[in-house]
Symmetry: C2
Subunit: 183 residues, 2 copies
């Protein structure tokens, strides 16, 4: 008998169901730790790298590549415009995470996604960053995500699937950030 | 008379001071809007692009390049490991933004930064993302940033400079995210 993998939306649904079963049997499999390192170049120009992570009760050994990611600022914000700004990188992380969460949870629920595109925007007032007005926040005052999704699922279904996104949670709800200094 | 630009930490301090003065005279110069578009490839693999933005009372015309950024998931999270995960991308955005904020505000205060490196980690429990336990959050339960900075400034000074970071604010405090669907 020939069996083929049960793939939906590019997600291996058999492996997803197995993952859920394993986590239910052995809850500590679900603990992950992701790590990056950011090196300062000059001004607002930085390069980060990501490789090692912990998950499924062990240090990962499967990832062969170190991913490098840059950040800079446009000229009007005194940068050399060599890469996207950290604010745009947040939008990239959010757009990708909402999309991935929608696609994975759709697959788990037998919902087909034929195509998806998200346009994101975030507004900020530099009075916050520049320290000119303590009443103005430093980050985005809000983010709007406009999805175009080709799927038979309803808007309400797609929204509830997308909202499983970890980055959506990290932004919508406070995420404690501890800053330490080493000599 | 030959004059040279007043550069500190790679930041043009004259331009920074001018920017602050202009914003104080004309507050609407400080309003920025950043935008990205995320295109779904397959599974958890997405590509985002960033180019246009609004700031200083106009649509930007100086940025010539469209920056593209990828996201994927490692094999153990059912991806093809073609790029960093959205969670790692959040750490990259945070590390770059904290570093940039520290460097810019140090420059404005006459503090020299000779070198900076930040190691970030964030922990997550998949019970949240998988919808197995509503008590467990989907995003990072917390992020730790370890800085190594070569500077004469005290740890307290560096911390207060870094905390001008917009992305630090976006994560530490709730950032409203509105999700809309278009046909």
């Amino acid at each position: 008998m020939i069996t083929t993998a049960n793939i939906k939306n590019g997600v291996n649904v058999d492996q997803l169901v197995e993952t859920i079963e394993h986590v239910q049997e052995q809850p500590e499999l679900a603990k992950f730790e992701f790590r990056t390192k950011t090196n300062w170049i000059t001004g607002g120009h930085c390069v980060s790298s990501a490789k090692s992570f912990y998950g499924v009760c062990q240090e990962d050994t499967t990832r062969k590549e170190t991913f490098t990611m840059e950040a800079d600022h446009p000229n009007v914000l005194l940068g050399e415009d060599k890469a996207a700004t950290p604010a745009e990188i947040v939008l990239h992380a959010l757009g990708s995470c909402l999309t991935g969460a929608m696609v994975y949870h759709a697959a788990a629920n037998g919902i087909e996604i034929e195509g998806a595109e998200a346009s994101l925007k975030g507004g900020a007032d530099l009075h916050g960053f520049l320290g000119l007005d303590p009443e103005v926040r430093k980050g985005f005052d809000g983010i709007t995500v406009k999805f175009k999704v080709r799927s038979d699922a309803s808007e309400e279904q797609l929204r509830s699937l997308a909202q499983f996104s970890p980055v959506f949670d990290m932004l919508s709800n406070p995420t404690p950030v501890k800053i330490e200094f080493e000599k």
